[in-house]
């Protein structure tokens, strides 16, 4: 378990560093990118391409083609009123994506903040339906036997979803099951993780709601569909919760899809997305000041090497709580290289 987490973390850190390097230096050959990532003086082009291909598979920020690596083109960032979402839910035979199988898939399309279309299919899991799951969902072994296999249903679902942003409640769970099939079918993972309504609710309802389970949220918002452990009703309830959460996020000033994603992102991603604020800092000693959006100084620090120190804040290591809070509210970094000829410099979010 720990080994798996470590490997995932390592891949994410390496990808973050690769994106940093590509932003600074532009497109690189596979060998150049592998050298900078893996700190190795010599590596064959074949091995470099293979390592990078594996590392960047499923990350929409980076595109690997032939023997070179570059940042993928900018994604569209529609307003929340115009964005299209596909909210989906899976019923499975258990909790482990490696051992268990999908047995139902339901999805709802949300366009213009309205539920406009739906998709639902039972899935033949190819294994016996465990009794507790049958009791929980009400699914019958016989009806599942007559259903299409998972590969066919996943293909239909992808055709239904198109380019819309995928959304799920506790999205990691559904993402893992879905990606099992995507890897088997296409050899790739999702280009970007689905938006998680649980994470979004945790952020937007902090202090107001202790539990962010789908049933609690449906009850809190008074949505018309009650979740019942079946894929389509649960997807509908999630979609209705999503629409209310979008309303709350708009009240907080989020207007575009990227801002909604930022609200739902885990701490690591939220902080990482601010790494551009440290760009341009010199590798020289000096002091730095973190400012919030109102210009208030939140934190003052010093370093022998401003560039290395400032970059370190945006990696995975957690800081102590007060600095962590300052990082989340950070809007601009000002640094002062010490010496009579130095002038204050800064970089802001805007």
């Amino acid at each position: 378990m720990f080994a798996l987490l470590w490997a995932v973390q390592l891949a994410l850190d390496s990808l973050d560093r690769l994106v940093d390097t590509l932003e600074e230096r532009g497109p690189l050959t596979a060998v150049e990118a592998a050298r900078s990532l893996f700190a190795t003086p010599s590596i064959s082009e074949g091995l470099a391409s293979s390592l990078l291909g594996e590392l960047t598979a499923g990350d929409s920020r980076v595109a690997c083609f032939g023997g070179s690596v570059a940042l993928a083109g900018q994604q569209s960032d529609p307003s929340l009123d115009e964005a299209e979402f596909v909210v989906f839910d899976l019923e499975t035979t258990g909790l482990s994506p490696a051992r268990d199988r999908i047995c139902e898939l339901g999805a709802v399309r949300v366009r213009g903040l309205e539920l406009v279309d739906s998709f639902q299919s039972l899935v033949n899991p190819g294994v016996a339906l465990p009794e507790p799951v049958a009791r929980l969902t009400g699914l019958q072994q016989e009806e599942l036997r007559a259903a299409p296999p998972a590969a066919a249903v996943v293909r239909q679902f992808l055709a239904f979803a198109g380019d819309a942003l995928l959304v799920a409640h506790n999205a990691k769970f559904d993402q893992r099951f879905l990606e099992q099939h995507l890897v088997a079918l296409y050899g790739r993972r999702l280009s970007e993780p689905p938006l998680c309504t649980a994470a979004l609710a945790r952020r937007l309802l902090e202090g107001r709601l202790r539990r962010v389970g789908l049933a609690s949220l449906a009850d809190f918002f008074g949505v018309p569909t009650a979740p019942c452990h079946r894929a389509l009703p649960d997807a509908e309830a999630t979609a209705q919760v999503l629409v209310r959460l979008i309303g709350l996020s708009q009240e907080l000033g989020a207007h575009r899809l990227s801002e909604l994603r930022a609200l739902a992102a885990p701490r690591k991603r939220r902080v990482y997305d601010k790494r551009a604020l440290a760009r341009g800092a010199p590798a020289r000693p000096g002091v730095y000041l973190f400012h919030d959006r109102y210009g208030q100084v939140l934190y003052v620090g010093r370093s022998r090497d401003l560039r290395a120190r400032l970059r370190s804040y945006f990696r995975s290591e957690r800081q102590r709580p007060s600095v962590e809070a300052a990082l989340l509210a950070l809007d601009r970094i000002e640094w002062r290289v010490l010496g009579p000829s130095s002038r204050p410099r800064s970089r802001s979010c805007a």
Binding site: A283, R284, V287, V300, R302, G339, S341
Partner: protein
């Protein structure tokens, strides 16, 4: 090594900015108000915010425990407080309590002894720092220049840029003149103590670019000549 030029300047600037701006995420912005002192009241010791000889101490709880440990101290023990004072007697008492299976009393005494040890160590360090006279020389921002920090009584009294050539000696004289202060026996404030501890960190573990010299004109001039400033 241009990349490691003014770490000391950065540290002093950081301290100045924290005091001026009091940023909410810096724990040091609040530390300034935390300095407390031990004061004698009758036979006992109390924790006070009024500056005195025994302080400043960073932690009020540690000061309170140390005050309890000092309550039974004799005048002779108090006179030798910075050398340990009542600590040997208290340690013997701790061993006796443990031997007598009076563990709860022993645990309380152990905490007080630990706190007193920390307080004594800090007071001894601050006493030593009050006697620190030194000149800290770092490379300046311009090629060939140096920056000298003149420290007397543990505190930076002057910062002078030292140009190449004879001008450095003029600056050196000015820096030394600002260090001629009367011996101060005033109680230390928490800010002064923080300044002294910062300077002490650089003196004890100087970064490669920092030269720590005695506050003597000839020694500093010789260093400048050797490093090609004058």
């Amino acid at each position: 090594m241009a990349g490691a030029r003014s770490e000391l300047e950065a540290a002093l600037e950081e301290l100045r900015l924290i005091r001026e701006l009091e940023p909410p995420a810096n724990s040091r912005s609040r530390r300034r108000e935390r300095g407390v002192y031990l004061r004698r009241r009758g036979d006992d010791f109390v924790v006070s915010k009024q500056p005195g000889r025994l302080g400043p101490i960073g932690s009020r709880r540690q000061a309170a425990l140390a005050a309890r440990a000092l309550a039974s101290a004799t005048d002779r023990e108090l006179a030798t407080l910075l050398d340990g004072g009542p600590l040997p007697r208290l340690r013997a008492r701790l061993a006796h309590l443990a031997d007598s299976l009076r563990y709860e009393e022993a645990a309380r005494l152990r905490d007080r002894i630990e706190a007193l040890e920390h307080v004594v160590e800090r007071l001894a360090r601050l006493r030593r720092l009050r006697e620190l006279d030194a000149c800290l020389v770092v490379p300046g921002a311009e090629p060939g220049w140096r920056t000298a920090f003149f420290v007397a009584g543990g505190i930076v009294r002057a910062v002078r840029p030292l140009p190449p050539g004879a001008g450095a000696l003029v600056e050196l004289e000015a820096g030394l003149a600002s260090c001629r202060v009367e011996d101060e026996d005033e109680p230390l404030t928490a800010e002064h103590a923080e300044d002294m501890l910062l300077i002490d960190g650089f003196v004890r573990r100087p970064p490669p670019e920092l030269a720590v010299l005695p506050l003597e004109r000839e020694r500093i001039a010789a260093h400048l000549t050797k490093s090609g400033v004058s």
